[in-house]
């Protein structure tokens, strides 16, 4: 084509609209366009609520971590078991996840300030605007759900997508299946270590084997509670985490010495809620998990004696510790404790008791090896070797140092017969966004087009169609 001739208007192919993939988790919500290799939008599922100028204001996105606000309290629309509890707010959070970075907002919509501060008062107007301009009216939407999502929740999901967002086509896929796709497998045993849950999902030929789906609450948040228990029992003095927002400055102290920091004092009527502090403590704990916590690599458990006769625990003691400094400047080296925090994921007896913890003491059946055992017991005997040869590890908490090594040892000990092969992407983002990436692959496949539930079909059959079509 000749560059000095202007092209015809609207000459381009035009209607290639890529689908939006929305992968809502307990801790974060991921959204992006199908066909891309990472979600463009990653926001916490937590949202904040506070009152200012006599109005209730909501805070979405990363802002909850950054700006402390008077009386701010933190909520999560999703329950501990990964099932949505507060549908209205879940809708708002999900909407924010794709509107802030992907679809944008229509001009004149009061929600256009995507980052924060949509007052409850403005809500009705916003709804009115949306009745004309719905956010997804030109993008198909693929959403994910945990394998144990009840039928009611699935119907509610398609209802929101079709009626509130006006998506022209919709599909609901299981996170486990998608994580297997992301690893290029149609049959796999997917072990997903999330924030609130760990789950084991057997997949065969792209179909979920429902009877084999197992899950337990020993996820990243449980590990945090174990770390807190360790801090509480710490010698010489217990460690308390004071998040950054409560500290105005700190001065260096020697390891193990009491912190010397200037704290901020908020007046009682302005101080953020305890839930805000908990959220920010979690932030420090995740840094701690990244920098310090390690999974005892095995082959035997931490409590077991090693082949040389010295107990594994003593062996762990001989390894150099890892230092960590808390926001208030307190710092300490963590020795064997850093192995103990995660040990209970594999060995229920190793759990550190903490009466104040919100988690009930873990039972042996909740540990990963037992979940795998139970999951395999629920599937056909012939499939088991194939599944064990295709174990896929996904989820952010599986990035704990040494996790896959240990899992490999545990599985090999439990199933000495068949060949066990653990696949875990080395790339951090592939591990964290496994199910989103699977969704991105699926929705961009040409053959997937026939799978979409179209708006017309939804109108004909009602929300129940999701049960028939998305198996």
């Amino acid at each position: 084509m000749n560059p000095s001739n202007p092209p015809q208007a609207a000459e381009y192919g035009g209607d290639e609209v890529s689908a939006i993939v929305l992968d809502p988790g307990y801790s974060t919500t991921r959204a992006g366009f199908a066909g891309e290799d990472a979600p463009k939008s990653l926001i916490p599922t937590y949202y904040g609520k506070y009152n200012a100028d006599g109005q209730e204001k909501l805070v979405f996105g990363d802002d909850v971590f950054v700006t402390p606000r008077p009386g701010l309290s933190i909520h999560n629309p999703i329950g501990k078991d990964g099932i949505v509890e507060d549908w209205d707010m879940a809708e708002r959070v999900w909407e924010h996840s794709f509107m802030s970075r992907l679809t944008g907002t229509k001009a004149g919509n009061p929600f256009q300030n995507g980052l924060n501060d949509v007052s409850a008062d403005e809500l009705p107007t916003e709804m009115e605007v949306e009745s004309e301009e719905k956010p997804l009216s030109d993008s198909p939407l693929l959403m994910t759900e945990p394998g144990w999502n009840p039928a009611k929740a699935r119907e509610k999901t398609i209802e929101i997508a079709m009626e509130k967002w006006d998506t022209p086509a919709f599909y609901l896929a299981r996170t486990g299946v998608l994580a297997a796709f992301a690893s290029g497998k149609a049959s796999a045993l997917v072990i997903d270590i999330g924030a609130s849950n760990i789950s084991v999902t057997p997949i065969h030929d792209g179909m979920i084997l429902k009877r084999g789906v197992q899950h337990s609450p020993l996820g990243g948040d449980y590990i945090s509670s174990q770390i807190k228990a360790i801090f509480k029992a710490n010698a010489p003095q217990p460690i308390t985490i004071t998040p950054h927002y409560l500290i105005s400055s700190k001065s260096p102290v020697e390891a193990g010495q009491p912190p010397q920091a200037k704290y901020k004092i908020f007046p009682a009527d302005k101080a953020p809620d305890a839930s805000y502090r908990a959220l920010l403590e979690e932030r420090t704990l995740s840094e701690f998990k990244e920098c310090v916590v390690q999974v005892w690599p095995g082959p035997t458990r931490l409590s077991a004696p090693s082949p040389t006769g010295v107990s594994n625990e003593d062996m762990a003691r001989t390894t150099p510790g890892r230092p960590f400094e808390f926001p208030d400047g307190y710092n300490q080296v963590f020795g064997v404790d850093r192995f103990r925090a995660v040990e209970s994921l594999f060995d229920a007896k190793a759990a550190i008791p903490d009466p104040d913890s919100t988690f009930p003491p873990s039972t042996p059946a909740q540990t990963i090896p037992e979940l795998v055992k139970a999951s395999l017991a629920g599937v056909d005997v012939d499939l088991r070797p194939h599944l064990l040869a295709n174990v896929v590890v996904t989820g952010g908490s599986s990035l704990l140092y040494g996790f896959t090594d240990r899992l490999n040892h545990e599985l090999m000990q439990m199933f000495p017969g068949p060949r066990v092969r653990v696949t875990a992407p080395g790339n951090t983002s592939e591990r964290r966004f496994g199910s989103w990436i699977g969704g991105s692959i699926l929705a961009s496949l040409g053959t997937f087009h026939q799978m979409w539930i179209s708006k017309k079909e939804y109108e004909e059959h009602g929300p129940n169609i999701v049960e028939k079509r998305c198996k």
Partner: protein, 685 residues
């Protein structure tokens, strides 16, 4: 490369070139058109306040040649926009019946001065002043309506970008069109636009579609502003802090890739306006206008002191109240200087203010003249101005030690009537006078007392917290330390003296890890330095590293710091199980930050050296009345805060000229025609 370009230069427009091309460059898949040339590249960097633009890349990169205020004015016809405020001016003119008189028709006779009320515009063309003046012999009078552009007014302006977000699309597109028409590039001109982080994917598609369909550009590149800053600094990994007018963006860039997750996008209430707001809050009760505060913020007496620095003379507050109040009392009179036509003529400005203010004000320096000459005179006048406000004894103290200091406030006041050289045309005088300010000038980053929405102690803490959050969200933990050591601070909001130092101090105070002895001694087992005894089963010396430490070891060896930052796998002792080696982390997942630094702008662009602050209204905000000569006047005083534009030029050079599309740095029209606007996401940098 150079050879090929020269070859094409002679006939780059010629159509027959194409066959020649395909044979010569069959390796390159994209090229179906002649290569782009340095002088035919259009760069546009939109901001909430100023949009920088430039046609062509100069030999050595310079600050943007054109600065357009990011605003448009609604035109008479709905949906259309004008770059300047258009005034409708009604004036009684004397007309003869002679041939000189324009449109001497019937209407003239009815049009009596008395009918001035609602008579619709009888003339739609702008009359030149000569026309009216030439009509010396008075016979009849009519009222005529003149339309004239008023470059200094921002009444009724629409600002299409707010806090980086495009809030008014038709207006934004009108601005782009205005810029495009002003620079009027030839057809074969690729366009590079700097994208704000907050623009959503759909926004980017809309802009792409507009550029290709309206400007018929042969190629288009949408460059992320943070990445552009990295290009400007010539670094692959950096944390870019862009302090804008109403917002701050914090972006971690690793290996030329923007980390979208955890990115601090358009933090509101942290930009330059927040600092002005704080000054208004502090000084407003003393009679300061917002414009005064804005200029005070830009002046060189305003400074952000690192936290903990005592304010000078914090006890002496007695005098403080009187003086600024008095000086602003005078200013109020001036502020309300008549603007509209028909108001009484302002005479003897110089005398008036001079006498009236001499006693009260410290200095009232008034300069009158032609608006177009103001800017040329700025520098000269600076030196002339009396500095009466400075305490004699404090004259030699550094600014941060002086309790009071004065800055030169400049404003444009409209000149009317006989004073004006050409009657009818709007004229402005620039007046400057010195205003004395007390320690408030150091408090511009302190938290606003009435902010019900946040609890933090000032914008610096907010930005520091966001930087911490953003860097912590970078998945590759080995990069975090480098990110802390390579901060890039850009944006005009960061021009306030002391901003960078104060921000670094805020980070150090809250986040820097203490170089405690244990952090380093623990990393390296105590038997590491001694020769390993062969086969000796000696775990004892390593013991439990727990709370043991040597106070003497506090003086930290920098080598140890380096060692712990990127610690390679520490070899296990022979006694250990070989698998133990894997217990040591080789990934360098150490906590950060142990240090924080800013990057230095490369020295080889002398034009980007920081040239100090200027509070001249020309460099000032839209509310200052804009740049009278704008567009087309580029003043000095643009330094490293505009590294984004420097980076844009570099990137344009690389993508359009050197790589010729190999690096997928831009989207060509061919691709646009094939895949539509959504394909821009594959090229977004």
């Amino acid at each position: 490369m150079g050879r090929k370009r020269n070859q094409h230069k002679s006939s780059h427009r010629g159509a027959p070139m194409r066959s020649h091309h395909s044979s010569q460059r069959s390796v390159l898949p994209v090229i179906t058109m002649p290569p782009f040339k340095d002088e035919h590249i259009l760069l546009i960097a939109p901001g909430s306040q100023m949009t920088l633009a430039q046609l062509g890349l100069p030999e050595t990169f310079t600050p943007a040649r054109f600065r357009f205020p990011t605003r448009m004015f609604p035109a008479e016809k709905k949906g259309e926009y004008e770059p300047y405020r258009v005034h409708e001016r009604r004036q009684v003119v004397k007309v003869t019946n002679g041939t000189d008189a324009p449109k001497a028709d019937v209407e003239m006779k009815d049009a009596e001065p008395a009918a001035a009320d609602g008579t619709p515009a009888t003339e739609t063309t702008v009359k030149t002043d000569e026309n009216t003046q030439n009509n010396e012999e008075p016979t009849k009078t009519i009222e005529e309506v003149f339309y004239e552009e008023d470059p200094a007014s921002d009444e009724g302006a629409i600002y299409p970008i707010e806090n980086g977000r495009i809030v008014d699309w038709p207006c934004f597109f009108a601005l782009l069109t205005h810029i495009y028409n002003t620079l009027s590039p030839p057809f074969h001109t690729p366009i590079m636009l700097v994208g704000q982080p907050i623009w959503s994917a759909r926004d980017r598609e809309a802009i792409t579609q507009f550029v290709f369909e309206k400007f018929k550009a042969p190629a288009f590149s949408l460059m992320d502003s943070a990445l552009a800053a990295c290009y400007g600094y010539g670094t692959a990994t950096a944390t870019v802090i862009d302090v804008g007018k109403g917002k701050v963006d914090v972006t971690a860039v690793t290996d030329f890739a923007v980390n979208e997750h955890g990115r601090g996008i358009a933090l509101e209430g942290c930009g330059g306006d927040a600092m002005t707001d704080r000054l208004v809050e502090l000084l407003g009760p003393k009679g300061f206008t917002r414009e005064m505060c804005e200029q005070l913020k830009r002046s060189n007496i305003t400074e952000i002191l690192p936290a903990g620095t005592p304010l000078p003379g914090s006890s002496a507050t007695a005098r403080q109240g009187a003086n600024p109040a008095a000086s602003t009392g005078g200013s109020d009179g001036e502020e309300s200087a008549p603007r509209g036509p028909g108001d009484s003529i302002q005479t003897g400005i110089e005398g008036d203010n001079g006498e009236e203010d001499e006693g009260v004000l410290d200095v009232a320096a008034i300069v009158s003249g032609n608006p177009t000459e103001y800017l040329a005179n700025v520098e000269k006048e600076k030196t002339i101005t009396k500095k009466g406000a400075v305490d004699p004894k404090g004259a030699r103290l550094p600014n941060s030690k002086k309790e009071k200091a004065s800055f030169q406030f400049e404003e444009f006041v409209q000149l009317e009537g006989e004073k004006a050289a050409t009657p009818g045309a709007r004229q402005y005088v620039r007046r400057t006078r010195d205003i004395e300010v007390s320690v408030e000038r150091f408090l511009l980053t302190s938290p606003r007392s009435k902010d019900a929405n946040r609890l933090t102690s000032g914008i610096l803490e907010d930005i520091a917290t966001q930087i911490h959050h953003t860097i912590l969200a970078v998945p590759d933990a080995t990069k975090r330390s480098e990110l802390w050591d390579s901060l890039i601070i850009v944006g005009c909001g960061s021009k306030v003296k002391g901003f960078t130092q104060a921000l670094l101090a805020a980070i150090t105070q809250k986040f820097i890890l203490s170089p405690s002895a244990t952090i380093f001694t623990s990393e390296i087992p105590s038997n590491f330095t001694t020769p390993l005894p062969t086969g000796a089963n000696t775990p004892a010396p390593m013991g439990q590293p727990g709370p043991m430490y040597h106070p003497a070891a506090h003086g930290v060896n920098p080598l140890l710091v380096a060692a712990t930052h990127n610690n390679p796998g520490i070899p296990g002792t022979p006694s250990m199980d070989p698998s133990m080696v894997s217990h040591y982390r080789s990934t360098g997942h150490s906590q950060t930050p142990t240090s924080v630094k800013t990057l230095k702008l490369p020295e080889y662009f002398p034009d980007f050296k920081d040239q100090g602050n200027s509070n001249a209204p020309g460099a000032s905000s839209g509310s200052a009345g804009g740049n009278p000569g704008a567009p087309g006047t580029s003043q000095g005083g643009h330094g490293m805060e505009e590294a984004v534009f420097l980076g844009t030029q570099m990137a344009a050079k690389v993508f359009f000229v050197i790589d010729q599309g190999l690096s997928k740095g831009y989207m060509s029209r061919v691709e646009y025609n094939e895949s539509g606007p959504s394909a821009i996401h594959e090229y977004i940098l």
